[in-house]
């Protein structure tokens, strides 16, 4: 049974008191085996170790004068990332988790815009630390997640923890800011969503999903996403789950066999690929296929982040696997509604969480309650457009049926939601591609799950430059853009127009 927690500190302390000796986190390590060849083994940290390590890190940050300051962190999911995160927020600082897939320049811009004074990074991001040291004047400290780092002047998180300083006599309050999380904005500039301890802790603990302590979860989504951070890490911790870290998207299938999870949180893109794996072996009886792909112990997939075709729910049911579809957004810390074992309706995104209420205004879904953000960091105009009398305007269209289940029908805001749950601003990509001289007008949209750019070229310029193969030339413009963009923001379809786009009265291209 879940109990409501109102700070992340309370969430971790109560979990440690209840499940202290249980494994909290399991992860892969490579060790030299017999004959010197490296072997993959599973290491683990208990709830007590997690609490202790995070409290020692809080104490070290306090000694550095970082209490109340903003601390950016970036890296792949790891025990260090999780202990570092708990250390930051529970010591009274504000965590700013960043997307490890972004180019170094973009990360430095976000570090600066978030007013971060410390940057915590893993070994793969040493280049960002070096650049940030030069480009981000507000940064006071660089801290590596490993014991050693090549970055001059940087500290080591594990050396700081080893000092085992006494945690200051301090407890974060529910209304204290805990996190700023960046999300794509409709104007092309990402927005920092401000979430308090109450927002995050109550969102993670409001709904009883029926997890038993010791339930094994495998975390496969990027940890800087609100969905993963809240549902895998915070909710997982609060119920005494064993959180297993998937080290690479390449190895999901292999790691399922290694960690033997009961549940995995996924985005629809992963559900689709795994469905193919199941159907590939359609001649073998369903229970045997399920054991081969997921193991005997596996029973539930939670899907969120983007639209899931309900046909997959029926398909997985044949194999004895339940898919629980939910709905949320970063601005709502993030879960708004979810199906659960006791309240389930196919095609719906479930009932609203008990700590929030939902109403429909001109078909748009509005949410009010303790999950709703405080606003966008230093963006009062965008905040005023999104929050009204405590109601969050989601930009999603939908309806509530007679049993209280929420159904989504479309989007009001101009944002592409990719099948892997990433929110992409078309304007951001249009601005980049449109900067090329050959491009007169460009429109970016979703087309069957991939991003498409439709371009009206500058024909005059093309003839002046004697460009013959316009399609190939424009494709190279797209290729150049793609080289600088993370995979989920890349353009995979190109359409070339003969005529200008139709405009509305304010001379803006009509999108729909």
């Amino acid at each position: 049974m879940n109990e409501l927690r109102s700070t992340i500190y309370e969430l971790l302390v109560k979990a440690q008191e209840a499940y202290g000796t249980l494994d909290a986190i399991r992860y892969k390590v490579k060790e030299a085996g017999d004959g010197g060849k490296k072997e993959t083994k599973v290491a683990a940290k208990t709830y007590t170790q997690l609490r202790q390590d995070s409290e020692h890190f809080s104490a070290a940050l306090n000694k550095l004068g970082e209490q109340g300051k903003h601390i950016a962190l970036v890296g792949a999911t790891s025990y260090s990332w999780i202990a570092g995160y708990y250390g930051i927020v529970n010591g009274g600082s504000v965590a700013v988790p960043l997307d490890a897939n972004l180019p170094a320049e973009d990360l430095c811009e976000l570090i600066d815009r978030a007013d971060a004074t410390t940057f915590l990074y893993d070994a793969s991001k040493e280049n960002v630390a070096l650049m940030a040291a030069e480009k981000c004047p507000k940064l006071q400290h660089l801290i590596a997640m490993e014991e050693e780092t090549e970055v001059p002047g940087a500290l080591s998180m594990w050396n700081l923890i080893a000092e085992a300083l006494q945690r200051p006599d301090f407890e974060p309050q529910p209304e204290d800011l805990a996190m700023i999380m960046f999300t794509s904005g409709t104007t092309g500039k990402s927005k920092g969503v401000m979430l308090t301890h109450r927002n995050l802790a109550e969102n993670a603990t409001a709904l009883d999903m029926g997890y038993e302590p010791g339930t094994v979860l495998m975390s496969v989504l990027p940890i800087h996403h609100a969905y993963c951070l809240s549902m895998d890490i915070l909710k997982g911790t609060s119920v005494g789950a064993v959180i297993c870290i998937n080290d690479s998207l390449l190895r999901v299938a292999k790691n399922i066999k290694l960690f033997e999870p009961n549940m995995i949180l996924m985005v629809p893109l992963m559900v689709e690929t795994l469905a193919k794996k199941l159907e590939e072996a359609s001649l073998i009886p369903a229970p045997l296929v399920k054991i081969k792909v997921f193991g005997r112990q596996f029973h539930t997939i939670c899907s969120g982040g983007a639209y899931l075709n309900p046909a997959y729910i029926d398909l997985f049911k044949k194999y004895g696997i339940k898919i629980l579809q939910g709905y949320g957004m970063t601005e709502c810390a993030p879960v708004i509604s979810a199906n659960s074992n006791s309240a389930f309706k196919a095609g719906s995104v479930g009932r609203c969480l008990p700590n929030c209420e939902v109403k429909i205004v001109d078909e748009e879904i509005w949410v009010k309650g303790t999950s709703v953000m405080q606003g966008y960091y230093q963006m009062p105009e965008e905040t005023a457009q999104t929050l009204e009398d405590g109601w969050l305007k989601t930009g999603d269209l939908g309806y509530i049926d007679e049993d209280g289940f929420l159904f989504l029908t479309g989007r009001k805001k101009n944002l592409i939601i990719t099948p892997n749950g990433e929110n992409v601003s078309p304007e951001e990509i249009e601005n980049r591609i449109g900067a090329h001289r050959l491009v007169q007008e460009v429109l970016v949209r979703d087309s069957e799950g991939v991003i498409e750019a439709e371009i009206f070229p500058d024909y005059e310029y093309a003839s002046k430059k004697k460009i013959k193969d316009l399609q190939a030339q424009l494709q190279s413009v797209i290729d150049d853009y793609n080289k600088t963009a993370p995979l989920y923001k890349r353009v995979f379809k190109l359409k070339v127009r003969d005529v200008e786009f139709e405009k509305n009265t304010t001379k803006k291209i009509k999108r729909f």
Binding site: S124, L249, L250, V252, A253, T273, K277, F492, K493
Partner: protein, 74 residues
């Protein structure tokens, strides 16, 4: 290597083996999703007993580029 890769590709997308060309692009031409592609590389890791770095493979676009990358590892 190309033939071996084609055999694996047809398990992930609905495409005939003879239609897979070295210049075929995984996402645009063959209909892969990014996660299909990652999963396929995971399978190749097992089949070929090699270790693939996720960060290095995000820029692979065509079948030939994948062959070149894998031949370097083997």
């Amino acid at each position: 290597m190309l033939e071996q890769l084609k055999d694996i590709i047809v398990n992930y997308v609905e495409v005939k083996k003879e239609d897979i060309k070295p210049e075929s692009r995984f996402i645009e031409d063959l209909g892969f999703t990014s996660f299909d592609f990652m999963s396929m590389l995971g399978e190749i890791e097992d089949v070929m007993d090699v270790e693939i770095d996720q960060e290095q493979v995000v820029d692979i676009r065509t079948v030939q580029e994948a062959v070149d990358y894998l031949e370097k590892l083997a």
